[in-house]
Amino acid sequence: MARISLKNLRHSYGPDPAAESDWALKRFELTFEDGSANALLGPSGCGKTTLLNIISGLLRPSEGSVWFDDRDVTSLGPDARDIAQVFQFPVVYDTMSVYDNLAFPLRNRGVPADAVDRRVREIAGMLDLEDTLDRRASGLTADGKQKISLGRGLVRSDVNVIMFDEPLTVIDPQLKWRLRSKLKELHRRLGITMIYVTHDQTEALTFADRVIVMNEGVVVQAGTPVDLFERPQHTFVGHFIGSPGMNLLPATFDGGVARFAGHAVQTAIAPGMVPAGAQLQIGVRPEFVSFAGTGIPVDIEKVADAGRFRVVETRHGQFSIRLLVGEDMPLPSERACLRFDPTFTHLYADGWRLGERPG
């Protein structure tokens, strides 16, 4: 177990980075608490795999350092960091049996045979692999192989952190949830620091206690799933998380209050200083928009049924605003007024939430 800190980190794949765009990872600091379950969430190319490889030691950062507890491990390779990694597709040693696969990392480190046997059976039990121990690894299904990959990481008792690089990509949909719950269960049981990279928000939000959202090499927000949902620090987080994503409407700042199309909108934080010349936006999730007697007038365009609720798409002028309505609630016919819940309505300047900026 270890607490992982990334200090002053920046990484570029090219030799002489000049512009901001040359950096795959822009400068940031990040800490993963010992025993926490974290997710790195973001679209393809946002830098999450780069970050993962820097933590595991497969990649050396251009600038900055990586610390495990109080040790600077920046110059150490992956075998010296005692980490485990589960890749996108199952990596197993085909010619060996499941037992030998699990025993491999221990044998390479010279662990005596009886200790190996005990540990392998223990881990196999945790992963429900006991029945397959004697079978050839190549004969298992994809989820079985991923469990073997995971097992090879768990089998070493001194493992500091387990990293997952989109591990459910090749798993059948109906088995995904089973593997996901197994991962969560293992985390609760073993308390090892885990870092889970994915582009799927459901996976991230259900697995992790703390989600780090990344976009284009920038760590946009790091917080609990609730935080990300209720207080997105960046418009990107607003629309990437949640389905449907956050409504973003152009705003002005007038008379001490934010306004959309002339209508005053109360926001969670009373904006003190609004930077001049910034592009302002009001952000509010469909979950926090409701029909009201007075408010912003809209025309109702479309109603989509999503099971237990309905997504109503409305229009004000050229802007569309979505809201969620329970399945049994009555809907106004054509025109209505909308109210935004002030606690969850935010004002954004140039994409960043006003009032708070990440450190």
Binding site: S56, P78, Q85, F89, N108
Partner: protein
């Protein structure tokens, strides 16, 4: 080959190929079969002889000698070329400009007409004026491939290794490139040694490629003709008269149609049989 729809009209698509290949394969083979069971005295008169020629060939010491030489040659050549080719492929960088330069240079022997290969090595190995011949003799070896069977064999084998190892390298290299990086990364994390990486990752993943390489080299070395005959002419005497060389001597040299035809069929059958055995052994534990 999954997801194919049944469609008998597909035969029209394969018809040209079937016709051309059959023309080239079936008619000559029928001719050969024909000759193999008949005797002729040269003036287009044929007499049915049954299995006489087959018996003659199968009992002939000349055939046995040629077959033994051939088996020995193929065995030695496979034993050198496959491990050497794999070793070279393993030692090459996995990507980058050096890699393609190396591959291009190594591919050269594969595109040289076989008679030129033979002629080149002939000139190269001549005792007084060839680089190899001169050097070996200067170093104290008594080397003359036109007069000594051992020298002839060594030169023949060296030539084949020079000629075909590159094929194994190219195939092995392709197989190695197909291994995703994640496997090497996982092995690093697991603390595996280079030898373990070879045994448990590289070799198993190259299995299909190596199979193709072994089969191809087996078949082609068993059929070797042109470069061998230009190099040694089958000699000295018939020290290096491998099966094809012997066969052509009988067929085109002596025009002994009957024995030649019988030998042809036996030859072909031997190759088919051995290839099938190789294939069966290698795909023994493939999950189908």
């Amino acid at each position: 080959m999954s997801g194919r729809t049944p469609n008998q009209k597909a035969w029209f698509l394969v018809l040209p190929v079937v016709v051309l290949v059959a023309f080239n394969a079936v008619i000559p083979l029928m001719t050969v079969v024909n000759y193999s069971v008949q005797e002729t005295f040269g003036d287009n008169q044929f007499f049915f002889e049954g299995v006489t020629w087959f018996e003659q060939i199968l009992h002939s010491s000349r055939f046995h000698d040629a077959l033994q030489r051939q088996l020995l040659f193929t065995a030695i050549v496979l034993a050198i070329e496959i491990p050497l080719g794999v070793a070279i492929a393993l030692a090459m960088p996995r990507r980058g400009p050096w890699a393609s330069t190396c591959l291009v240079l190594m591919a050269m022997p594969l595109l040289i007409p076989w008679n030129v290969v033979g002629a080149m090595w002939n000139i190269f190995a001549l005792p007084d004026i060839g680089l190899l011949g001169y050097s070996l003799n200067a170093l104290g070896f008594d080397y003359n491939f036109t007069r000594q069977p051992l020298s002839a064999w060594s030169t023949l084998i060296a030539m084949d290794v020079w000629h075909w190892t590159s094929l194994v390298v190219l195939l092995a290299y392709a197989g190695l490139s197909a291994i995703p990086n994640a496997f090497y990364e996982a092995a690093k994390i697991d603390g595996a040694s280079a030898w373990a990486v070879f045994c448990y990752i590289q070799l198993p993943k190259m299995k299909r490629v190596l199979m193709i390489a072994v089969l191809l080299r087996f078949m082609d070395s068993f059929m070797i003709y042109t470069e061998a005959i230009v190099l040694t002419g089958g000699g000295p005497g018939n020290a290096t008269s491998l099966l094809s060389i012997d066969l052509v001597k009988i067929a085109l040299g002596q025009f002994d149609l009957g024995p030649a035809a019988a030998m042809s069929l036996i030859y072909f059958l031997i190759i088919l049989l051995l290839s099938w055995i190789f294939y069966a052994v290698m795909t023994r534990d493939e999950p189908q």
